[in-house]
C-alpha cells in the first residue's frame, strides 16, 4: 500500500490552504465547546492555537483529525472533508496527542514499524525513514530500548518521530511540550522547525505557553470556544500598542495623578502594587518619566509587548488565570505557614514598642 501521492495531492492539484475551517461548531450535551470557528492554514505554515485550558483547543484538533464529528460547519484537511473522507484525512496527517499513545510493551523501533505499517509506508523505505526520524529526534541509539524505560521527554520525542515517519502533509501537535523541562522543550522546537524545513510539513499546534506561541508563523487566540484574534505574533503584539512600562513608587496614588496630568496621551493602569502604561518609544520616554514623577521610584521596567499582554488586552485577563490554577493558588494561601507564624510575633513586637 504505497501512499498514492496523486490521491494525496487531491488529483495532482497543489493545495495552498491545507486546512480550511468555516463556522465550525461543536456541542457536547448542550455545552458549546466551539461557537463558530473559522480559519485557514497555508501549506508549510506553523500555525498555533493559543488559549487557556478548556478553551476548545483539543476539541478543534479532535475534529480536524477525524476523532470527533463536528456539530455543524465545514472542515477540509488537505482538501478532504473530514466528515465524508476521514480515511484520506487520516492518511495526510500525523498526530501527537497530549498524553502518550505509545505501546510501552514494545521497543522504540517496533512502535515505528507498527505505525509505518498502519500508514502503508513501503517496507523498502521504512528502514531509511526510520533512521531519518530517529536521528532527527536523537533516539537512534535507543531504538532497541523498550518504551517503558523511556523518560517523559524521550517518549514525546519518539511520538514526534513516529508521527513523521509516514511523511504527513500536516502534523498536529496537541500541547507538545507540556510537562517537559525547558531544555527538552527547546529541542522539540528544533525538531518541529527541521521537520518543516526538510519536508515542508505544515504544523498545527496548540499551546498555553505564550513564549512558545511566538515561534509560530501565525497564531489564533481562542477563548471560550471562539477565536478572539488571529494574526502573526508581531501584528498581535502591535495591537497592544507601544512598549510597556511598569513601575513601583513609594506613593502610587500621587504618581498616578502626576502621570495623568503630565502625559494625558497615555493611559495608565494600576495592577496590584504596580503602575502600568503603554507608551511609544519607551527608550526615550523612560528618562522623561523618571524626571516627571516626584515620589521615589522603587523599581521600573521597560519591555516590548508579549503575547501575554495581547491576551490580557483582548480578553481582559491573563492566560494563567484559568480556574485550575486559581484553585491551586487558593490552596497555597490556606496552607501558608509563614503567614500564620508572622501573626503572633508581630503583635508582640508592637506591644513592646
Amino acid at each position: 500500500m504505497a501512499i498514492d501521492n496523486e490521491i494525496l495531492e487531491n488529483g495532482g492539484q497543489e493545495i495552498i490552504e491545507v486546512i480550511q475551517v468555516e463556522n465550525l461548531k461543536k456541542n457536547y450535551n448542550g455545552f458549546k465547546a466551539l461557537k463558530g470557528v473559522s480559519f485557514s492554514v497555508k501549506k508549510g505554515e506553523i500555525f498555533g492555537f493559543l488559549g487557556p485550558n478548556g478553551a476548545g483547543k483539543t476539541t478543534t484538533i479532535n475534529i480536524l483529525s477525524t476523532l470527533t464529528l463536528p456539530t455543524s460547519g465545514l472542515v477540509f484537511v488537505n482538501g478532504f472533508n473530514v466528515v465524508t473522507r476521514p480515511d484520506m484525512v487520516r492518511r495526510s496527517i500525523g498526530l501527537v496527542f497530549q498524553e502518550t499513545t505509545l505501546d510501552t510493551h514494545l521497543t522504540a523501533e517496533e512502535n515505528l514499524f507498527l505505525h509505518a505499517y498502519l500508514y502503508g509506508v513501503p517496507k523498502k523505505e521504512f528502514n531509511q525513514r526510520k533512521r531519518e526520524v530517529l536521528r532527527l529526534c536523537e533516539l537512534w541509539d535507543k531504538r532497541k530500548w523498550r518504551v517503558e524505560n523511556f523518560s517523559g521527554g524521550m517518549k514525546r520525542r519518539l511520538e514526534i518521530s513516529r508521527a513523521l515517519i509516514h511523511w504527513p502533509q500536516i502534523l498536529f501537535l496537541d500541547e507538545p511540550t507540556v510537562g517537559l523541562d525547558p531544555q527538552t522543550r527547546t529541542k522539540i522546537w528544533d525538531y518541529i522547525f527541521s521537520a518543516r524545513k526538510h519536508k515542508e510539513t505544515t504544523i498545527f499546534l496548540t499551546t498555553q505557553y505564550l513564549n512558545e506561541a511566538e515561534n509560530c508563523d501565525r497564531i489564533a487566540i481562542i477563548d471560550n470556544g471562539e477565536i478572539v484574534a488571529l494574526d502573526t505574533p508581531e501584528n498581535l503584539k502591535k495591537m497592544v500598542g507601544g512598549d510597556i512600562i511598569s513601575f513601583k513608587t513609594s506613593d502610587n496614588e500621587l504618581a498616578e495623578n502626576e502621570f495623568k496630568e503630565k502625559f494625558p496621551q497615555y493611559k495608565i493602569k494600576r495592577i496590584g502594587k504596580e503602575l502600568k502604561s503603554e507608551v511609544e518609544n519607551g527608550d526615550e520616554f523612560l528618562p522623561i518619566l523618571v524626571k516627571a514623577i516626584t515620589p521615589k521610584i522603587i523599581s521600573i521596567e521597560l519591555r516590548r509587548p508579549t503575547l501575554d499582554d495581547v491576551f490580557l488586552e483582548i480578553t481582559g485577563r491573563k492566560i494563567r488565570d484559568d480556574q485550575t490554577l486559581a484553585t491551586e493558588e487558593e490552596k497555597e494561601e490556606s496552607f501558608n505557614l509563614a503567614d500564620l507564624f508572622s501573626l503572633f510575633p508581630k503583635k508582640n513586637k508592637k506591644d513592646k514598642i
Binding site: 466528515v83 476521514p86 502518550t100 499513545t101 505505525h115
Partner: protein, 270 residues
C-alpha cells in the same frame, strides 16, 4: 468515540495489511510476556497431571468404563485455551487505558479491523497453546494421527474465535484493566464449571443442563472429546460423558461465532 465514515473507501489490500499488523502486534506482546507463555502451558499441565492423577485414584478404572485422565484431558485442553483467548482480549482495555488505542483509531484503517485483528490474535495465541498441549496426548496413552491433530487445531480455532470475540465484546465497554480482570474472573468461573471439563454434564439436574446448553464452553469441551478420543475409545463410551454430539458442537460454535463477531464489532465501533 464516534464512527464517522462508511467503510467502502478502504481497498482490500489495506484491509488485509491492517488486519495483519494488529494480529502481529498481539503475537509480539504475547511472546514478550514470557511468564504468560510459560504459565499458559504449565498450569494446564499441572491440572492434567496432578488433578487427573488424584481423581484417577478416586475413580479406579474398574468402576468407570474409561480412564479418568482420558475424560479430563480434552476438557482441560478446551478450557485452558478458552481462558487464554478471553484473557488475551485484556489488551483492548490496556490499550484504551494507556492511550495506544487512540493511535490505532486515528490511523487510516477500518475500525472493524481493529476488532477482527484482536480476535484473530487472541485466537491464534490460544490455539498455539492448545497445539502445544496436544503434544502430551501420547503420554496419556491417547492415539492421535496427523489428521486428528489438524482437525483438532481447526476446531480449536473455531471455538476460540467465538470466545475471543466474546472477550472483545465485554472489553469494549470497560475502561480499566483492573475492572476487566475482576469481570473476567466472574464470567469465567461459572462458564468453566458448567463446561463439563471437570465433571460430565449429562447426569446433572435438568436446570443445570439447560444452562450448560447455553454455554459455549460446553460445546468446546465436548467437541474436543469427540475429536481427541475418537481413535482411542468407542463411540458408546464417549457418549457416556458428553452432552452434545460432535456435529451439534461444531454447528453451535459456528453460529455463535457469527453472532458474537457481529455484536463485538458493533459494540466496539460505538
Amino acid at each position: 468515540m464516534e464512527e464517522s465514515h462508511s467503510l467502502k473507501h478502504y481497498p482490500l489490500n489495506v484491509r488485509l495489511k491492517s488486519l495483519y499488523i494488529i494480529w502481529y502486534r498481539e503475537l509480539l506482546i504475547y511472546w514478550r510476556n514470557r511468564i504468560k507463555v510459560f504459565t499458559s502451558i504449565f498450569l494446564p499441565l499441572l491440572l492434567i497431571v496432578f488433578f487427573g492423577a488424584g481423581f484417577k485414584a478416586i475413580f479406579p478404572t474398574n468402576l468407570l468404563p474409561y480412564d479418568f485422565s482420558q475424560f479430563f484431558y480434552p476438557g482441560i485442553l478446551s478450557l485452558s485455551t478458552a481462558v487464554m483467548a478471553m484473557s488475551s482480549t485484556l489488551s483492548i482495555v490496556w490499550d484504551r487505558e494507556f492511550g495506544f488505542l487512540r493511535e490505532i483509531l486515528v490511523s487510516p484503517i477500518p475500525r472493524s479491523n481493529i476488532v477482527l485483528g484482536k480476535i484473530l490474535g487472541a485466537t491464534t495465541v490460544a490455539s498455539i497453546q492448545g497445539g502445544l498441549l496436544l503434544l502430551v496426548a501420547p503420554y496419556l496413552s491417547l492415539e492421535l494421527k496427523l489428521i486428528d491433530f489438524i482437525e483438532i487445531v481447526i476446531f480449536l480455532l473455531i471455538f476460540n474465535a467465538g470466545v475471543s470475540a466474546l472477550g472483545v465484546f465485554f472489553a469494549s465497554g470497560i475502561k480499566k484493566t483492573e475492572s476487566f480482570s475482576i469481570f473476567l474472573q466472574i464470567v469465567i468461573a461459572p462458564m468453566s464449571f458448567l463446561s463439563g471439563a471437570f465433571f460430565p454434564l449429562n447426569n446433572l439436574p435438568l436446570w443445570i443442563k439447560y444452562l450448560a446448553h447455553l454455554n459455549p464452553f460446553s460445546y468446546g469441551a465436548d467437541g474436543l472429546r469427540w475429536l481427541v478420543l475418537s481413535s482411542s475409545l468407542k463411540k458408546e463410551e464417549i457418549l457416556l460423558f458428553t452432552l452434545h454430539p460432535l456435529n451439534t458442537s461444531i454447528l453451535f460454535l459456528i453460529i455463535f461465532d457469527i453472532i458474537i463477531f457481529a455484536l463485538a464489532i458493533y459494540r466496539f465501533k460505538r
